[in-house]
Structure formats: C-alpha cells, structure tokens
Amino acid sequence: MPLVGAPDTGRAAAVVCRGLQKRYGDVVAVAGLDLEVRAGECFGLLGPNGAGKTTTIEILEGLLKQDAGDVEVLGLRWGTDDRALHQRLGIQLQDTQLQEKLSVEEVVRLFRSFYRRGPSVGDVLRMVELESKRRSWVGKLSGGQKQRLAVACALVNEPDLLFLDEPTTGLDPQSRRQLWSLLDRFRADGGTIVLTTHYMDEAQTLCDRVAIMDQGRIIALGTPRELISSLGAEHAVEFAVDRGAEVSTSLLAQLPGVTDARVDAGTVRLRVTEPHVVIPALLLELERQRLQLSQLATHQATLEDVFVAHTGRHLRDG
C-alpha cells in the first residue's frame, strides 16, 4: 500500500500518534495507526462510516483511552497534562446537542467561562455569524446554525488546535460553504485543524493533507493532489449502455490511455490519463461491439476515486 507524503519533520507537530489501537469487544475500531499532524495545517481523516475516524479523533481529544499506542497532542499527553490540554483545544463532537432551552449567547457564555483566555462572547458570535440569533433558544436554530454554534463553543478559547468530527454532515450546501469559510478564517489566523469527514469534496476543499481510513487503518496519506495523481490517471470516464447490455471490461482496459476499468451498478468507470484520446477510441470500440451509449460523463479524478482504487468500494457504501 503506497503511503505518499511522508511527514515533514522540519515543522512542529501538533499531533503525533504511533501504533494507536482501540477495540470494542471483538470489534477492532483502530488497528495500529500512525499519524502526524503539523502545526498550522488542516488535516483530514476521510473514510466511510465505521472506518474508525471518530474513535481516532476522540482518542486525540482525550475522550477515549486507547488500548495501545502513544499519543502526543501539542507536545503534551493525556493523563498528565489534561488541564493544560483542555485549555488549548477546541472540540466539536459529532452531532453535539447543546442545552436546547438556553439561548445562543447563554451557551457561548457558559463555555467561555471554562477558559482562562479567549475572545468575548460578542466576538465569538460575530466570528460564526450568529449575532442575529443571540437571543434565540438553541432548540429553535436550524441545523446549520446549530453546527456553527457548536463550532463557536469550540472557538471560545482561541484554540491552538481545533478538532471537528463530521462538521458538515447533514447540512445544506449553503450552510456547508458558510462553515468552510469560517474554518478558512481560523486557518488564516494560524490555527491547526484535524477533522473527520466522509465527504470527499470537503476534504479536497479544506485539507492540506488527508489520511484515507478504512477498517481502522490508514490506507493512503498525502495532499489531495498527491493522492489523486498517485492513481496514475487524473481523469475518470463513466458511461452506461442501453438495455444493460454486457460490456467487456477487459477489452476496455486495453484501450490506449486507460489504466483501470470497472463496472459498478450498470455504470462503467474508466480511469484515464487523457480523456481526449480515450473517448474517440471508446466510441469506436462500442460501435464495434454494437452497443448504444445511454450516458457518458467525464470528471477529474477525486479522492473518492482514490478510495475506490484502494478498497474497491465507494465511501458511501459504509
């Protein structure tokens, strides 16, 4: 398994973990994980549900104890430096529910009271664009607003390191973009982010480096660019033929410029280096096999294709 992008030892590490393991009874959630997150970067754990992302991030947050392995966060360790760590971390849990009967500002003020330093309540609300909702009860907020409030609670202490567990799951596209720009501003001020997601576009947009996880392991690691180019083919061609007729993938794989061909639920996916060479050849081949195209699309290869290439499954398959 190629692991691209070895850690750059020149910069300070925000998170280092070695040989991390965690099991729940017979289920292995994390199976020996090595990870290094540099200060100032946005690092993404990308993978399907059940890949071990949440378990990993909760161990880093100090909420879970690992069975084996070594974890260092901001040069400190859970178990001995908890107080100091809590002061410097910002944490957003997967579907955090805050006190429904409190108003937005009451919740932020409560969280702010736990920390020695940090911005004022009003500044935090301005940061997450919730000033107009200041007096609204948490229970009356929309999904996107609740999520921004959860991030606000993670930002009340000007954290050095921000952990986000599936920050945009279930949000509409506008709310997602709003949250992304909020995280961009945090990055711009020098903050480090570790986030989990099962959205490849989120990882591609936000993250400097991505670790793709599957079944408790990292199966690929690097910048989104590196991971995609490691496929050896930066484009994908997808097509379907009429009446669900059989297409010979082995013949297709031999076309010039095609590095891989798979059939998935009636759709044929080709990974190609140069679509302008492949497509004319593909059309000729289909005509030779007397097949009628019902659909044809090309796109740049994404992290999803990287996941498929490594596991043969889609991210959403779980």
Binding site: Q87, L89, L93, S103, S113, Y115
Partner: protein
C-alpha cells in the same frame, strides 16, 4: 440575562444555566411548586379534624334485628343500619360499617381486629347492648377532649409532607436533568472542556437550593393559612434543616443518576430508593410502628432524620442544638452521596 460579555466563575454560570433551563420548563415548575400544594390540600381535607365521628355498625337481617337496631340507634355516637347477610362482609371490607352485629342470645360481633376503628366500634356496640340488657355502670368518668393546634394529625402531617417533597423534587429534578444531559451528550461535550467536574455537580445542587425557598415557603404558608399549622421553632433553625435536607437529597439524586444511561433506568432507581422511605420514614404514619430491630436503620435514613427534625422544630419549637443528631445524619448523607457521585459519575 443582559449582554454580559464577561462570564462569571464557571460554578455560577453553570448554576445560572441550570436555573434557566428549569424555569423554561413549565411542567417542572408545576411539579415542584403546585403539586405539593394540591397534595397538602387534598390530605388536609381528608384528615381534617372531624369532631365527634360516630362509629358505623351493620346489623344483619335476622330475627331480633329490630330490638338490636332500636338500642344502637338510641345510643350516643353510634350509627346503625340493617345489612343483608350476603352483603355484610363486603360492607365491612369497604369500611361502610366497622363492625357487624348478628342478633341472638348472646349476639355475635364480626369485625377485623387489624383495624383500630373496628375494635373501637366493637367496644361501643358491646357497651350499648350490655347496658340495654341491664348492666349498670359503676361510675361515669369525666372527659376532656383535645382540640389544640399543634397536636392534631394535620400538624403532624405537614412536616412529613414537606420532607417528602424536599426528597421528591430534589431527587427528580436533579436526577432527570443529569440523565437528560447525558442522553443528549451534553455531558460528553462538557467533559471535553477544562470545566471542573465538581463545579458541574455542585451547580446542580445550588440551582436546586434557589427554588427550595419558593417551594417550602408555598407549602408552609399554605399550611399556616388553611390549617393554622404552627411553626414554633426559629425560622433560622428551620431554614438550616431544610437546606441540609435539600443537600442530602440533591446528593442522592446525583448518586442515583450518576451512572444511568436512560431516563427509564434513572426512574427505576429513583423509585427504588424513595419508596422505602415513603413507607418507613414517618410521612403519613409514625415510624415507631415498625419493629425495634429496624429502628436504627430507619433512623439512619435521610427522610426519617429530615421529618423528625422538621417536626421537632415546627411543633416542639426545638433549637438547633436539639436537632443536631438529625442534622449530622443529613450532612453525612449529603457529603457521602456527593463524593461518591463525583467518583463514579459517567460523563459519556
């Protein structure tokens, strides 16, 4: 809450947050304030001093019933009526009559000796029938009846209700809010902050104390107005006892909720821990009825200590020094339950 930019100490912020959550839950306010008043009123009416209550006697439809009925109807303090033979046991069971007379020579009394009022009725009936049969009284004793404020059942009942209420609302309100916060993972989120865990638990108890004054004041004010129940001891001593009681039951509420993952599980534990105290701790009837070997355990229970102390202060005018033992028991429960909760509390 105005635009306060600088937060107070976390303990105060947590207490404020808990109070706000509480007052924004109208049902909770109802259960804490209104329910005890309704209960006190209902019980006060049921147990009000009824003056000279007669005994109710059933005479079975058999030969000689007319003579027996005539004698009993003339006797003071006896209400007699004729009962069909097959209805007699039913009337006895339902308390419509307290004793059944089967006319004859001699007559037969049918009653349940486990019911004090039945034994009383039997004696009254027997005396009336004996007199009618020719027995002469050797003397007629003088009588002094008590109708003194402070010695009635309602006077004894109100401190018990107050104690029961401090127990119930303390345990339910704290237990529920904690378990609710756990099921919604608010606790997990709080555990990921530098918040002191002791502050969180203490805030739950402090928030509880704020409403205590309202709750206790409403019940005592109502009892004074409606039934003239007295408060003979000092209000300071009474306040101290009430505070200690609330802390003890606040701690117990935390303890019961410290591990429960669901509201159902917490409810079960609540009832399990409160039910024995409803029965043995002297809310509705004196705990002295229980056998001597049980007494040390009964007196170690927080509700017994609270009820005893409340009665001593309210009815006997006891001073703080006279209720120190009860106060110590309550304090011990508060400290022990709080420290154990803190150790075993489940945050996730």
């Amino acid at each position: 809450m105005g635009r306060r930019e600088r937060p107070y100490h976390p303990l105060i912020e947590l207490t404020i947050a808990r109070l706000l959550e509480f007052v924004r839950e109208p049902e909770a306010v109802f259960w804490v304030i209104v329910f005890p008043l309704v209960l006190a009123l209902a019980l006060g009416i049921a147990f009000r001093t009824k003056g000279d209550e007669p005994v109710y006697v059933g005479v079975i439809e058999a030969a000689g019933r007319a003579e027996v009925s005539a004698v009993l109807t003339k006797a003071p303090g006896i209400q007699a009526r004729v009962v069909a033979r097959d209805r007699a046991d039913l009337a006895l069971r339902d308390g419509e009559v307290q004793v059944i007379v089967l006319p004859g020579t001699p007559p037969t009394y049918r009653f349940d000796p486990a019911r004090p009022e039945s034994k009383l009725a039997r004696l009254a009936v027997d005396a009336a029938l004996q007199r009618a049969a020719g027995r002469a009284d050797r003397f007629t004793a003088g009588e002094e009846t008590i109708e003194t404020v402070g010695a009635r059942y309602i006077d004894w009942l109100i401190p018990g209700l107050l104690g029961m209420n401090i127990m119930g609302t303390g345990m339910w309100s704290i237990g529920f809010s904690v378990v609710f916060a756990r099921t919604r993972r608010v606790l997990k989120r709080l555990a990921a902050t530098p918040m002191s865990r002791r502050d969180y638990l203490l805030a739950q108890m402090l928030a509880r104390l704020v409403f205590l004054g309202l709750e206790v004041g409403a019940l005592l004010g109502f009892a004074a107005l409606a039934f003239s129940v007295p408060i003979r001891g000092s209000l300071w001593t009474l306040t101290g006892v009430v505070l200690l009681g609330a802390l003890a039951f606040g701690g117990l509420g935390l303890l019961v909720a410290s591990r429960a993952r669901t509201i159902e599980a917490a409810s079960g534990w609540m009832n399990f821990s409160m039910l024995p105290m409803w029965v043995v701790s002297g809310v509705f009837f004196s705990s002295a009825h229980f056998p001597a070997p049980m007494q040390p355990f009964i007196h170690a229970l927080p509700l017994t200590a609270l009820n005893d102390a409340l009665r001593a202060v309210m009815l006997d005018g006891a001073t703080a020094r006279e209720v120190w033992a009860e106060a110590a028991i309550l304090g011990a429960w508060a400290v022990a339950s709080f420290s154990i909760s803190l150790r075993i509390f489940r945050w996730k």
